[in-house]
């Protein structure tokens, strides 16, 4: 069985180090917050203008002036700060955020990412994604390995309009953990129920199985 969305989030949470400032995108990345162990001191940045995102509010705590980048109601943690969107993206563009975790429609073997537009079909916009991937110190993508028809979303070359060039460092998909290296994808870990050769078969882009590949531990 491939990983569930929760499992992908749980695995990505292992990438978050003590002292990090992390920006979480919408969807699976938002779930990552649930799995960061409490002994790690981590500040979550929300690009609309908050450093120090807390849990969702109780019914009594709901405040329409306090939302995250996904427009969800949230709370703050001790030590949090509010700022303008210009300051927020100064943090992001200036490389002050340690880690960006976001979703993608496609990633290719050069580390290019597409996640904002399907020509003629989907006009939503990039929001902050282009800024986030252009200057982040490290970019981890949470995504499904294939589409509903089983076509690989880890491509030789992205077919959709790009969000950023050569910016993805690591992918955690429902199949495994894949790094983007100078010579394409490298399978580092595989979902416990899958095997590396099957994952390679289901990946369109060039994928090398790392000599130290191992089963993922959650």
């Amino acid at each position: 069985m491939p990983l569930t969305r929760e499992d992908i989030a749980r695995r990505i949470a292992q990438e978050v180090e003590d002292g990090f400032v992390v920006n979480l995108g919408i969807g699976i990345p938002t779930l990552v917050a649930n799995y960061i162990p409490s002994h790690k001191d981590v500040m979550l940045q929300s690009e609309n203008g908050l450093l120090g995102v807390g849990p969702f509010p109780t019914a009594n705590e709901v405040d329409p002036d306090l939302i995250n980048a996904g427009k969800q109601t949230i709370t703050t943690v001790p030590g949090s700060s509010f700022f303008s969107s210009a300051d927020s993206f100064a943090m992001i563009r200036g490389g002050h955020v340690n880690l960006t975790i976001l979703g993608a429609m496609e990633v290719d073997e050069k580390g290019n990412i597409a996640n904002w537009m399907v020509p003629g079909k989907l006009v939503k916009g990039m929001g902050g994604a282009m800024d986030l991937v252009a200057s982040a110190r490290r970019v981890i993508v949470a995504m499904q390995h294939t589409d509903k028809e089983g076509n690989s979303k880890l491509r030789t070359k992205c077919t959709l309009p790009l969000t950023g060039l050569g910016c993805v460092n690591r992918i955690v998909s429902d199949f495994g953990v894949i790094d983007v290296g100078p010579d394409g994808f490298i399978l580092k870990e595989f979902a416990p129920d899958l095997n590396p050769s099957l994952i390679k078969e289901r990946t369109e882009g060039k994928l090398t199985i790392s000599p130290d590949v191992k089963a993922m531990t959650l």
Partner: protein, 232 residues
């Protein structure tokens, strides 16, 4: 000095005309100038260009002006919460210029700060870079983006004084401080209008120099798009 204080949106929006460009604060429906948008709808001005991170939802925020076909062009980073927007764009009734969120914030900031253009790494190698100058600094590529100003800027603050000093609240600050600097005429609507001198000068987010008109808004809905609660 002539007073900046207006009784309401109708008084503050005197001078708004067809074809103007408006820079608006707000993120989603958070911190949007609700009263000014409602007044624009009432005035019925047309062929507007609106610079705003989002385009509201179908029946609120800038979505109201899409319903009445008053907007000719939007400059935004994300319009995904608005089905009508998608329909109008697909049918060619609405022009759209996508600007990445950080680029949009910086374009407003630059416009208000007298900087006509700036280089940013955001969007290099994407559709956003098409037709824009690319320059390399220290081995990395950047694209040239233009500052933005508007005939009017509309911002929403929590508190404001009669000189136009503004204080925002929590994440309702978002694009408002930059939008405030980018209007030839900036209109601030506030939840609470106080006497000049009663706000702590150390806590002011937007100095009053940027604000030409200010009024205490009414009937704030402050709609929540995604009410998400903790389970315990």
């Amino acid at each position: 000095m002539a007073s900046k204080v207006c009784a309401n949106a109708a008084e503050a929006l005197v001078g708004v005309k067809d074809g103007m460009t408006f820079v608006l604060g707000g993120f989603g429906l958070c911190g949007i100038p609700e009263n000014c948008i409602a007044e624009l709808q009432k005035l019925g001005v047309k062929n507007l260009t609106c610079v705003s991170n989002n385009a509201g939802v179908d029946d609120f925020g800038l979505g109201l002006l899409l319903q009445t076909r008053q907007i000719k062009k939007m400059i935004s980073s994300y319009v995904g919460e608005n089905a009508l927007f998608e329909k109008l764009f697909m049918s060619g009734e609405l022009e759209l210029e996508f600007a990445p969120q950080g680029t949009l914030a910086e374009r407003m900031r630059a416009g208000g700060a007298g900087i006509p253009a700036f280089f940013t790494p955001t969007g290099v190698g994407t559709l956003i870079a098409e037709g824009k100058e690319v320059r390399e600094f220290d081995g990395k590529k950047y694209i040239l983006e233009r500052g933005i100003t508007g005939d009017f800027a509309f911002v929403k603050a929590w508190k404001g004084d009669k000189f136009g000093n503004l204080v925002y609240r929590k994440t309702a600050r978002n694009f408002n401080p930059m939008a405030a600097t980018a209007g030839k005429i900036t209109v601030a609507e506030v939840e609470e209008l106080v006497e000049t001198g009663s706000l702590d000068p150390d806590q002011i987010h937007t100095p009053g120099i940027y604000v030409q008109k200010i009024f205490q808004g009414s009937n704030y809905q402050k709609r929540i798009e995604q009410k998400t609660l903790r389970k315990d």
